[in-house]
Symmetry: C2
Subunit: 287 residues, 2 copies
């Protein structure tokens, strides 16, 4: 059997990294899959479940012959982690990542990497608010979008290979400019997360007599705020690394919210209903 | 069989009014159930499905002997509709409503009604973003909270009777001050609706190159913004009638969001992570 990769390292064996390992194994994409991370316990667990074949914890100890390195850490750590692996990497190794922010990672990786080690930025849009390798499943990416973000400098063969890899695990591969990726995700994903974090904290800080507001939240609110269960560390990093795009979308959003607040305060019923009807219509158009 | 009510009128045969009619019939709470509304087509449909026994459209034509009148219209229309029924109502009639805002309705109803016609403010918390009598089901209220909001002026027997009525359709009845109700719902329900309307409109107005952002929304966003499918007219009215409490919660919310925006802009990673972790913890405590 011809494997696509001989030795694949997944650095950061969490929900995404672990699922990718499982899926790569299921589809016969890598002969050997090695985990790397800070928590021995986590890695041992992943090994015991057959998610990874073996593991190491110190980047220096990366074995020879790695031809695919997947960086699956929070996005602030991606580039520095790559740098720490660099001395142990061989020519021809392909590096990719799964981070939710792309422009800065792609730019810094291109600065970092020597000729002969290619990088392709990637972002599989899957996983929701769960986290941890315990939630990893082989079909996590099936039917979901995976955005790859090459630049003029990206090696064509590497891009093609990563596209093929993601298609084999069932993803719908889409090629996009890294900046454009960050602006789009800044609106459709990062903005809603920030909004919900703020909502849940507003709720928990609001004191109305001695009432526990949480008792009145009900299923709707719980569904609505599910994304506030996402891992704080991951979202801290996303907000910092994509701060420009998120700042811009937050600015637009707050302006729009202020407008609604004024319409409510000034009892502009007709305009208010029009805003709500527009939202209604726009939401209907979401596929 | 002893019916709790002889002749029940449901004014506004939509999701809530229709479900209450179905449920009252199923539990044998009213001997006859009569619909009232503006749309003949809607009322005919409800009659054809056995939701109501008969109907009328002009308040003047309310039949004699009505002992329960449920007001199920958008909250701005509640009191004026009650006023238009008043000439046809007889002593001993009990009026209640199902509106999401209580203080102003309760106050104005108490001013409006003569001695001998009692009002009990009610708010069954059920139904979500669906609307229309086509979505009505007999068990809509089962296991859900119904908040009743009496004041010092509320007739004790009337309150007891409405409490009994709601318990019989399966609701968990809770007694609450009308102002307190509006402040709580202003945070846990009205605020999230306004937020989501603003989010969907921000998304639909954001132009990034020629990209249709809606194509990138995915299931998470769709779940998250489901409440923007709620009926615009209903939410216009809720916002206007509860504008003080909503204004206050919007004010608190925007302040908190501005704080997050500053933390992101100023790259305050530690504080940002703490905010996210607090939200995480608070959400876990939602029952």
């Amino acid at each position: 059997m011809a494997f696509m990769f001989h030795r694949m390292v997944v650095a950061g064996v969490g929900l995404i990294g672990g699922s990718l390992a499982l899926s790569a194994r299921q589809h016969g994409l890598a002969r050997e899959i090695i985990g790397c991370g800070r928590s021995q316990e986590n890695l041992r667990w992943a090994q015991s479940r057959g998610i990874i074949d073996r593991y190491f914890s110190i980047p220096d100890e990366i074995p020879g012959g790695v031809d695919l390195l997947i960086l699956g850490t929070p996005v602030q750590a991606t580039v520095s982690l790559a740098a720490s692996f660099l001395p142990g990497l061989e020519q021809g190794c392909l590096i990719s990542d799964v981070g939710s922010v792309k422009a800065r990672i792609v730019r810094d990786m291109e600065k970092l990497l020597p000729h002969g080690i290619a990088f392709v930025g990637g972002h599989p849009i899957a996983g929701g608010e769960q986290w941890g390798v315990q939630a990893a499943v082989a079909d996590l990416f099936a039917g979901h979008r995976c955005i790859l973000t090459p630049t003029r400098k990206t090696d064509g063969d590497a891009l093609e290979k990563m596209g093929c890899f993601w298609r084999k695990v069932g993803a719908r591969v889409e090629i996009m400019d890294p900046q454009l990726h960050d602006r789009i995700l800044g609106v459709v994903s990062h903005l809603p997360h920030v909004l919900v974090y703020a909502l849940v904290n507003t709720l928990s800080r609001t004191k109305i007599d001695s009432v526990d507001l949480k008792a009145y939240c009900g299923g709707g609110f719980k569904d609505f705020t599910r994304i506030a269960s996402s891992r704080p560390e991951i979202w801290r990093d996303i907000c910092l690394v994509n701060r420009r795009a998120i700042g811009r979308s937050l600015h637009d959003y707050i302006k729009r919210l202020e407008r609604l607040r004024r319409l409510i305060r000034d009892e502009k019923g007709e305009l208010l209903e029009r805003e709500f009807a527009l939202a209604n219509e726009a939401r209907r158009q979401i596929p």
